[in-house]
Amino acid sequence: MPVVQMHDLAHGQAHPHDHGHDHGGDHAHDRVHDHAHDGAHSHSHAAHDHGHDHGHRHAVAPGSEFLRIEQEILSENDRFAGVNRAWFAERAILALNIVSSPGAGKTSLLTETIRRLAGRLPVAVIEGDQETDNDARRIREAGAAAIQINTGRGCHLDAHSVGHAAEQLDPAPGSVLFIENVGNLVCPAAFDLGEACKVAILSTTEGVDKPIKYPDMFAASELLLLNKVDLLPHLDFDVAEALDYARRVNPAIEAIQVSARSGEGIALWIDWLERRHRAIVQVRVDALDAEAAALRSCLGIDAPGKPLTVVAGR
């Protein structure tokens, strides 16, 4: 079974195709590189044009020169994330970055989701864990294609390894791709993988104040799945309080209460997925329609579906 070993922390030096590398030029990545890159940059520049240019207070030592760079520290990751995002868009793949603490029930929720989506939507899963491919095996048993990334000492997935895993997995166009991140509420928040959005899972066996203890993750997520609600009768967990904390760090976050075990709320989660999936596919269909219309106009055909007549014998 395929297991991708994540390149270690020595990546920058060790990896043969790191600096200015041709990242799989055979699938049109190169074409989208610049575009994605520029987008990320203009955004970051806007963010730090807000009067936070502190200048350099220190005197430059004799013989040294200050070189102004102004670059996002994770710009390499962001660049790969942009490539992944374009790759997903081209295939109308809904990619979701699933984040939570260890033990919140990510894999159980995914296996249940895969069973519910069987025959409705193609599903593929990228599994991130420090070690073992146990989770990928569970996903395959549930009926979806899965690939495991072992991050080793790494505490999060990065866009580069996800890009390679996605290529290897090669999900069908129009798939839902779940990227199950390493169980960790801190680090994955900082690493864009090129996903459509992050989905945070919080379980009722955790503290209600997790959203304010780990605000970055909940601020970065569009949907909160409150899992293990079947256990609520046995716990002191206050759902309203937990959701209030989540909305303090992210007023726009959506929330669905689910239980992978009892199946409660799963239908709502499936509805959410199908809604997001339809939107992604529609965007791609519209783009292809526009492209086809442009090509048709080159042939002098205005109406879609009107066949091109070839006069025989000429």
Binding site: L9, H52, P62, F66, L67, E70, R248, V249, P251, A252
Partner: protein, 136 residues
């Protein structure tokens, strides 16, 4: 935690620019970190080990911490919430999802040393002791 990844990215970026400029080493890294970046303090401790054997070995880290500021839609003004875990306007209490500053993680610039080990200057900067801007 991912401070080691951050440190490695910083070092890779800085070394790349230093090589492009023909510098012999990086003596200082000037970075900008928003207060929401949890890596702030731990970056100091892992930078040294991570930079060993690179052009950044022995360089100093200078970190500008950028406070959290948000735009309150109700007050229509920039506000500074007290904690980074409470995204509400400190004055009117309205939830404020529009973060203006506090998420930064940027390399502002680097000090480059052009002195070679034999004491000669490798490739003198255009105007020594002044600032230049890298083509990013």
């Amino acid at each position: 935690m991912h401070e080691l990844t951050i440190a490695k990215s910083l070092i890779d970026l800085s070394c790349k620019h230093a090589r492009e400029q023909g510098a012999s080493r990086v003596t200082r890294l000037h970075i900008r970190l928003g207060s929401m970046s949890v890596v702030l303090r731990s970056l100091y401790s892992c930078f040294g080990p991570a930079s060993r054997g690179t052009l950044c070995e022995g360089a100093m880290l200078e970190i500008d911490e950028v406070p959290l500021s948000v735009h309150c839609r109700r007050c229509n003004a920039t506000k500074h919430p007290a904690g980074r875990f409470n995204f509400r306007c400190p004055d009117c209490g309205t939830p404020t999802p529009d973060v203006l500053t506090g998420r930064e993680m940027q390399l502002i610039g680097i000090d480059l040393d052009y002195t070679r080990l034999d004491g000669a200057t490798a490739a003198a900067p255009a105007v020594p002791g002044t600032a230049r801007t890298a083509a990013v």
